[in-house]
């Protein structure tokens, strides 16, 4: 059986003391161990940002790509090898600014990947600029007079796009986060897990304590995860409390590859199908 030590990298993390990334780092490794996966059984894909400085702090098959582009990268891996659990790790800046359309279309396509979205409401690595999830009025390094743009609600956006799995977590509850990552891996389709986290250096407006005081697990309220309308209202910024846990899970969803009728007779993986194919008949149709 794999252990958490198997995922140990010789590289020491560089996150600021108190950063939520430590908790997510631990939870990912724990979830994989609990699922029975070793470092060579998974593909972890990283974006660019503080979150993705995790890339060489975890021993596994890893691809660290370009800022904002981790979703199509991870999708490509999953399409080529559907047996491989593929986890994409990204932040609110890269995903909802530069890579927003990837998020939208990956949800529509329902690739079988799990997106762990670090939401700290700021750009950390570039020293504290606003992201689409920074609240209106907040003064940031790039907005000394306060953010004037409306605040994006990624959870609601995912839900309106028809996401098949939408969950919210908080770095203050690692046990719940581990369980959600496991659920996300098990779900066949695009699993969106938004993790609320504190940025001790640049986010003093919604710190660990602020989030901790507001979160609750929807399980305690017997939330029906197939109720889309309820999920939409739970995710609304107007709610006094922040709902965490699985907010929505589509009862009968199919991931992208399973939606392709022309692949129904192909049981294997694209990676194992590279060989010469006959074009004899097709070539003849051009004569």
């Amino acid at each position: 059986m794999p252990t958490i030590q198997d995922f140990q990298s010789p590289i020491t993390p560089t996150w600021c003391p108190g950063c939520g990334d430590f908790a997510i780092w631990t939870a990912i490794k724990q979830a994989l161990v609990q699922e029975g996966f070793g470092p060579m059984d998974v593909a972890l894909c990283f974006d660019i940002g503080c979150n993705s400085n995790m890339a060489d702090k975890i021993n596994a098959y890893v691809f660290k790509g370009l800022h904002g582009r981790v979703i199509p990268l991870a999708s490509g891996i999953s399409l080529a090898n559907k047996n491989l659990p593929v986890i994409a790790i990204a932040g609110d800046g890269g995903t909802f600014d530069e890579g927003m359309h990837h998020f939208i279309h990956a949800i529509r396509s329902d690739y079988n990947i799990t997106l762990i979205l670090h939401n700290n409401c700021d750009f950390g690595l570039t020293t504290g600029q606003a992201t689409p999830t920074t609240p209106i009025g907040q003064k940031m390094n790039s907005t000394p007079f306060g953010v004037v743009e409306s605040r994006l609600n990624p959870t609601q956006l995912a839900l309106t796009l028809g996401a098949s799995f939408v969950a919210k977590a908080f770095t203050g509850n690692v046990t719940q986060l581990i369980s959600l990552i496991r659920d996300g891996i098990q779900h066949k389709g695009f699993s969106y897990i938004e993790v609320l986290q504190h940025c001790p250096t640049y986010n003093n407006f919604q710190d660990h304590k602020w989030i901790a005081e507001r979160v609750y697990d929807v399980k305690t309220n017997n939330h029906d995860t197939s109720d889309l309308q309820k999920a939409m209202s739970l995710a609304d910024y107007s709610q006094e409390k922040i709902a965490t846990g699985i907010l929505f899970k589509a009862p009968n969803s199919k991931d992208y590859l399973n939606k392709l009728d022309y692949r129904k007779d192909y049981k294997g993986n694209l990676k194992d199908e590279v060989k010469k194919y006959s074009i004899k008949e097709l070539a003849h149709s051009f004569t």
């Binding site: 098959y61 890893v62 660290k64 790509g65 399409l79 491989l84 694209l270 060989k275 010469k276």
Partner: protein, 586 residues
């Protein structure tokens, strides 16, 4: 008898011009002629002016002429724009129910002794029980009659095209062919077109460059094709969506070119063969990802189908102005391979070769084509998977590796060739990090001076390895030492130059031609030697700045001032190449 007869079918977009043109091209091939089909159309779906030009010859060729002998005009615009372009003693077939010839044009047609054949298309179609949409079929019969060809060949084509339709529809179309054919049977003057005696002609394919690339992709085991539509690359997407999927290829229309590129990189990293295609603007969006593939040493194949730029440019026309983009697009320094196929056979083979090179050298490969190559219809020997091979380079098979041996493997191990062993996520070999950041042999990020320089060196060393494995440019025509001129060109100009050489040879003019299709890395030493041995050198390319000529200059250190450049969206016409060459010949 003429060497070549040129037919144009012209009319508004949405008239089925391309379909008609392809039917006639294929039927002429089956009648034993060499053909070349070339399309011109604007960036509109309906209403714009479309042209399908068919050049016919009894000798092997693949190029377009700017002469016109037979015009099938399907709307008034076609007469107004093209009637005066018809050569003396040519033919004009037109629909007299919808078009008129004004007095000014009439006088000119008479002076040039052009035969005009007015047809009442709707009347003829309805006369045999057909509808308005069958007017096209009537015109095919009429054109076939003017060309003095056996109606049975055309009938067979019609039966094949409509094979999935009811017998009633098939019979109606056959009746339309016959009525069009008979309408001109007693009137026309013979064109004296003798088919080729080469029986192989009848078995050739009529295929576009994009379709040949699609066939190559299927044959060489591409299992994921991800692309965003962009003219003139879109027909690869639609071809593979229909034909690739029949063999289980996943064909994904991505939300943009950045997605397409990253998806291909991911799929390739995970071990399948994947590919994308675009034109200049889309390639601009892909360049960051190109750099990622270079950095992470991930095989990456992209087709860059050129059209005139900058910006949106002339979207449905042709150019060779993105050579510099292919050579230099993407930040940082990383090895890349640029291939520029010259015809459909090369499109097919080089698509497979692009995947072999991408896997052998673990770096991006750009297949540089253009609208003219991608969307023209070449008469091509049957393409077969037997003519390609699959080489996956240093891809390890995990089942043959000892555990003890595998634990120490480093994915980016530094060696002289620059090429390390490669394996896949999920393999029980050794974990690694494909890292966008500069990295160590394991893949961990590094910012230390020595490892940065070492890894840059490792990747750069691939250039020498690649250069040793790619072939020298192919020479065509006469021996260099007996030639008055050495022609150098690249990509899709290949066949028109060969045709011009054949024509000049009949006048006693000898020329040598170097066709460069392995553009980068460049076989500079070989090329420099050829240039040094040549009496004079002329370079042909479809751009305004001589991008390839400048590349040759920088790689050979020689001055190359004789440049024939064309940048009006049209390909080189055979006459232009002949006349340009004559300027350099004493």
């Amino acid at each position: 008898m003429k060497d070549r007869i040129v037919i144009q079918i012209t009319g508004a977009a949405g008239f089925g011009i391309k379909t008609s043109g392809l039917v006639i091209t294929k039927a002429l091939k089956r009648a034993g002629y060499y053909t070349f089909g070339y399309t011109e159309y604007p960036s509109l779906i309906r209403g714009g002016h479309n042209i399908f030009q068919i050049d016919i010859s009894t000798q092997e060729f693949a190029s377009v002429s700017n002469k016109l002998h037979v015009l099938l005009a399907l709307d008034q615009n076609s007469i107004d724009l093209h009637a005066l372009e018809i050569e003396e003693k040519g033919v004009l077939i037109y629909d007299e129910e919808t078009c008129t010839i004004n007095d000014q044009i009439r006088v000119e047609l008479d002076r040039k002794k052009i035969e005009t054949f007015p047809l009442k298309l709707l009347d003829l179609a309805q006369g045999v029980g057909g509808s308005g949409i069958m007017k096209n079929t009537v015109t095919l019969g009429a054109l076939w009659s003017v060309l003095d060809q056996d109606i049975e060949i055309l009938n067979t084509m019609i039966k094949e095209i409509f094979s999935h339709k009811s017998e009633e529809i098939i019979n109606l179309n056959l009746a339309c062919i016959k009525t069009g054919y008979d309408a001109l049977k007693s009137k026309k003057e013979s064109f004296d077109l003798k088919p080729s005696t080469d029986v192989n002609v009848k078995n050739k394919m009529i295929i576009s460059g994009n379709e040949a690339i699609g066939l190559g992709a299927i044959a060489c085991g591409v299992r994921l094709y991800s692309s965003y539509p962009m003219t003139p690359a879109s027909s690869i997407l639609s071809f593979l969506a229909t034909e690739g999927s029949k063999q289980g290829m996943v064909v994904k229309q991505a939300e943009d070119e950045i997605t397409a590129a990253n998806m291909v990189i991911g799929a390739s990293f995970a071990g399948t063969r994947a590919m994308c295609a675009t034109s200049g603007g889309g390639f601009d969006l892909m360049t960051e990802s190109l750099s990622l593939a270079g950095m992470t040493e991930t095989p990456f194949v992209v087709v860059l189908a050129q059209r005139p730029g900058p910006a949106t440019g002339a979207p449905t026309w042709t150019a060779q102005s993105d050579l510099n983009l292919a050579l230099y697009g993407g930040h940082g320094e990383f090895p890349r391979i640029v291939l520029a196929p010259g015809d459909t056979e090369e499109c097919f083979k080089m698509t497979a070769e692009a995947h072999n090179l991408a896997e052998k050298f673990q770096t991006p490969v750009i297949l540089l084509t253009d609208k003219y190559l991608g969307e023209s219809f070449y008469e091509t020997d049957i393409l077969s998977e037997n003519d390609i091979s699959i080489d996956r380079g240093l891809l390890l098979n995990p089942s043959t590796i000892e555990d003890k041996e595998s634990a120490n493997k480093l994915r980016y191990q530094i060696n002289e060739s620059g090429i390390s062993e490669r394996w896949l996520p999920g393999d029980k070999i050794a974990t690694f990090l494909a890292n966008s950041d500069e990295h160590t042999e394991k893949g961990y990020s590094t910012e230390d001076a020595e490892p940065i320089a070492d890894m840059v060196n490792k990747r750069t060393n691939k250039y020498q390895s690649i250069l040793q494995s790619v072939p020298e440019p192919e020479m065509f025509g006469d021996e260099l030492k007996s030639s008055e001129v050495l022609i150098i060109s690249w990509g899709s100009n290949k066949r028109v130059i060969i045709d011009a050489q054949n024509s000049l040879r009949k006048e006693g003019i000898k020329t040598a031609f170097m066709h460069v299709n392995y553009i980068w890395p460049l076989k500079g030493l070989f090329i420099a030697k050829m240039i040094a041995d040549a009496e004079q050198v002329v370079i042909f390319e479809c751009n305004s700045t001589g991008q390839f000529a400048k590349l040759l200059e920088s790689e050979t250190g020689l001055k190359l001032e004789n440049r024939v450049l064309k940048f009006d969206g049209r390909p080189f016409y055979i006459e232009e190449v002949i006349n340009s060459l004559k300027n350099y010949i004493s």
